[in-house]
């Protein structure tokens, strides 16, 4: 009976895979009792050679060899055809010894190793970033969080990509309602291919109109660890160097990991700088429209005259000017992102220097507008997490629009509107935007040393 089933498995597999060019089948041993089947492309052949092929010649006895294979760490019996094919596709080797067959773990992992954090670079502090390998990422976290309370639950998502997902949390500190929601939402995800953390973030967000990111996507293990101590849930994903942290609050997007390292006063100052940057990048274009066209009387008369003088040659209204220049700036940012490293600097030079200089001389835009656009662009990049940066990039157009229609009243109404909207956002049932200055001590007692 068992003989029948095992040879059945080998035959069934052969039928399934014989068309594949990377399918390989080896017969070992004097009596041809041992058979190996695997896919070359995902299998580490060194492992197979060293631990499967070589011992088969060293051990005289087939029984001893079978016992050796069966007890090898990571090896399991292959008795379910579904599991068998999944294992083979993942990189396992099917070892059939007489009547029995085993799945030997020989998964080959191509990954770039632990690299340096690029998107969230910091001055001091750990430089390592997540890699494309989930095991390695878990290792990075475990090494920083050595307690048995740290729980890792794994699952796979994507009917074709079969991407491994790990839900990581501190059992003692985690908010159970959040954890439950994360699990529920992950279970509800029905997709074919899952390739990046940002994608996953989109799938597990509630399907409503939203403009602010609901979860932090980070490449820094130390950020994940810090958030785990705050009772949050991290979702790690294979094949991408990013992790998702849920829930997120607005201020999370304005904290860099540097803040923990700096002297408290300095880090407070840096935080303040980021919020000032946020305010400037949001309102400056709108304020320019207001001051140039709508309510010039608000500013000091010298300043108004300066703006008007600088705009003297410009033949169209200020909002056109603002839209032109903001669009040019968006093009520049996008272009320098996508361009190969070698020509990237050229584009910025051509765009920034020559275009800006020539445009003012031609009288298409005012000098002040050029200064303003660069100030807006620079202050936008002050925001440490890029997802929030993108949101703010979009949001400032709304303010320009309302400034165009209602002047300073429009700016104020939209700022209050944004505050109100932010207050209404919930991330996994947690308020997204709210002051916790007076509560941090009583309620969130676990956040030791949170700056």
């Amino acid at each position: 009976m068992t003989t029948h089933r095992a040879s059945n498995a080998a035959n069934w597999l052969r039928e399934k895979l014989t068309e594949q060019s990377d399918y390989e089948e080896i017969t070992l041993g004097a009596s041809s009792q041992i058979q190996l089947q695997y896919l070359k492309s995902v299998t580490n052949s060194n492992l197979v050679f060293q631990y499967v092929v070589v011992p088969s010649y060293e051990m005289a006895d087939v029984e001893a060899y079978e016992a050796y294979i069966a007890t090898f760490p990571g090896t399991g019996k292959a008795d379910d055809l579904q599991k068998l094919i999944e294992g083979i596709l993942e990189g396992y080797t099917l070892v059939s010894i007489g009547p029995n067959s085993y799945l030997f773990n020989s998964v080959k992992v191509e990954s770039s190793g632990v690299g340096e954090a690029i998107n969230e670079a910091i001055v001091q502090g750990p430089r390592d970033a997540f890699s494309e390998n989930i095991e390695m990422n878990l290792n990075l976290i475990r090494r920083r969080y050595q307690t048995s309370e740290l729980k890792v639950e794994t699952m796979t998502l994507g009917s074709l990509s079969r991407t491994a997902i790990a839900i990581v949390y501190d059992q003692e500190r985690v908010d159970s309602s959040v954890l439950q929601q994360v699990k529920d939402r992950l279970k509800r995800v029905k997709i074919d291919i899952l390739q990046s953390a940002g994608e996953l973030e989109k799938y597990i967000s509630p399907h409503r109109f939203r403009i602010f990111p609901n979860m932090v996507v980070t490449e820094r293990p130390d950020r994940v660890v810090l958030n785990l101590t705050e009772g949050k849930v991290a979702i790690l994903m294979d094949t991408t160097g990013f992790a998702i942290i849920a829930p997120a609050v607005f201020t999370d997007f304005f904290s860099a990991m540097d803040d923990k390292i700096q002297i408290p006063l300095v880090s407070q100052f840096l935080k303040l700088i980021r919020y000032v940057g946020l305010f400037i990048t949001l309102t400056l274009p709108g304020l320019y429209v207001t001051f140039a066209s709508y309510n010039p009387e608000i500013l000091k008369s010298q300043l108004v005259l300066l703006i008007a003088g600088s705009r003297a040659a410009v033949p169209y209204p200020s909002f056109m000017e603002v839209f032109f220049m903001l669009l040019m700036m968006e093009f520049l940012t996008e272009a320098s992102l996508r361009l190969p490293k070698a020509i990237g600097p050229t584009a910025t030079t051509v765009g920034g220097l020559i275009l800006g200089q020539a445009a003012t001389q031609a009288g298409l835009v005012s000098n002040i507008m050029i200064i303003l656009v660069s100030a807006v662009a620079i202050s936008n990049f002050v925001i440490p997490l890029s997802m929030m940066g993108y949101t703010i990039r979009v949001l400032k157009y709304i303010i320009v629009l309302t400034a165009m229609l209602f002047g300073v009243v429009g700016i104020m109404v939209s700022v209050v509107g944004i505050i109100m909207y932010l207050s209404d956002v919930r991330s996994f049932g947690k308020p997204y935007f709210r002051l916790t200055l007076w509560e941090s001590k009583e309620k969130v007692g676990h956040q030791h040393g949170k700056s």
Partner: protein, 382 residues
């Protein structure tokens, strides 16, 4: 459920907002006619009603008026009551909006159409009054804290200015011993009216307690705010000239100058601070009005629609969405209609009527709550 401090924000918000329109006018109108004793009476009455109202509504933990009324009153009484009070709250917000449109036209953008300004305000207010109750509290805190430095700055700027005429203030002070007037008391006690919003906002509180070591701040800050409201405009415009100004505080702010800042006139700082705060205040009023109105149609189980549960996704039932849409559309349409129709005089008259009616209806509310607490106790004993 939110922390207790939000309760005080509700009070503080409506107290500082007062200086925009109705209250200074009534105070200045009776400045030679017992205004000081009226203020004292109003502070005493206002704090007392605030204290009593809060003590009473704490008994109904986490419940707003619709739930309370529906439980302890017959249906035939509940619906007229809720509709009446809903109208009250909508009128409160509308008067504030209408006066702010007027102020905008007068001080900021004289050449824009009133309807355009009103539409801009309405987009925000209509959108935001449908938000969750707790969300509005969070926004209140943030807007209030952001505005606070500007308010303090303006006040200090006003008081240390050499042009501030203390003699006029002293002159008005000589009318200390005059008999108080009811109209001033009702007007001045409006400064304390923020607590009434607990009618709906009580849904967000479950651990609200009034401690005297916090509560003493209420009469003190109320008294200071009312005195500042009355005396600073007098210091700038003189004891007689002050009555020539419709929006006396805006005229006062316009008398101040920031010599070393890129914005020279304090008026603009004052305007944007008070604009953002009054928009939030209107959102609060209309939210209460909206929820009270919805209460006529829903039994108490539908309470979770206000979205205070932590896991709530903010989805509302189809029926509630329709009620909200129809009601808000009606109110907005009538507001746009009114902006062109109403003039300053009629707005001021309406405001005065509102102040007086509010005084009595709030007293009635407290009596009603006493009755309800009594009924609750009786039903609990059974």
């Amino acid at each position: 459920m939110v922390s207790r401090r939000y309760y005080y924000y509700l009070f503080l918000m409506s107290a500082v907002i007062n200086i925009i329109n109705l209250v200074p006018r009534v105070l200045i109108f009776t400045r030679f006619d017992g205004v000081f004793w009226s203020i004292l009476l109003a502070v005493a009455y206002g704090s007392l009603t605030m204290y009593m109202f809060t003590r009473l509504i704490i008994k109904f933990e986490g419940q707003g008026f619709p739930e309370i009324f529906n439980t302890y009153l017959p249906k035939g009484v509940v619906i007229p009551l809720l509709i009446l009070y809903s109208i009250f709250w909508f009128v409160a917000g509308s008067i504030m909006l209408l006066s702010f449109v007027d102020i905008t036209l007068r001080f900021i953008s004289p050449d824009i159409s009133a309807r355009a300004v009103m539409t801009g305000f309405l987009i925000l207010v209509v959108g935001a009054s449908r938000f969750k109750t707790t969300s509005i509290l969070y926004a209140t805190e943030i807007v209030l804290l952001l505005s606070f430095p500007a308010m303090v700055f303006i006040l200090i700027k006003a008081l240390i200015n050499p042009a501030f005429n203390w003699d006029s203030v002293l002159q008005v002070l000589t009318y200390l011993w005059t008999k108080p007037k009811l109209v001033t008391v009702t007007g001045a006690s409006f400064a304390f009216t923020g607590y009434v919003n607990l009618a709906i906002f009580n849904r967000s509180f479950n651990n609200l307690t009034l401690k005297l070591r916090h509560f003493w701040l209420v009469p003190v800050s109320g008294l200071l705010i009312l005195l500042v409201t009355l005396l600073v405009p007098i210091g700038y415009h003189g004891s007689i000239g002050v009555e020539d100004h419709v929006y006396s505080w805006f005229s006062t702010a316009d008398s101040l100058r920031m010599e070393t800042f890129i914005v020279e006139r304090v008026l603009y700082l004052f305007y944007i601070t008070y604009l953002s705060m009054s928009l939030v205040m209107v959102v609060i009023y209309w939210h209460v009005g909206l929820e009270l109105f919805k209460g006529c149609f829903n039994e108490k189980e539908d309470k979770k629609d206000s979205g205070d549960k932590e896991t709530d996704t903010g989805k509302k039932s189809r029926k509630n969405q329709w009620i909200e849409a129809i009601l808000l559309f009606t109110v907005s349409a009538s507001m746009i209609y009114l902006t062109e129709r109403i003039n300053q005089v009629r707005l001021a008259q309406a405001g005065q009527w509102f102040l007086n009616l509010r005084f009595f209806s709030e007293t009635f509310l407290i009596l009603l709550l006493m009755f309800l607490v009594w009924r609750k106790r009786r039903s609990a004993r059974r």
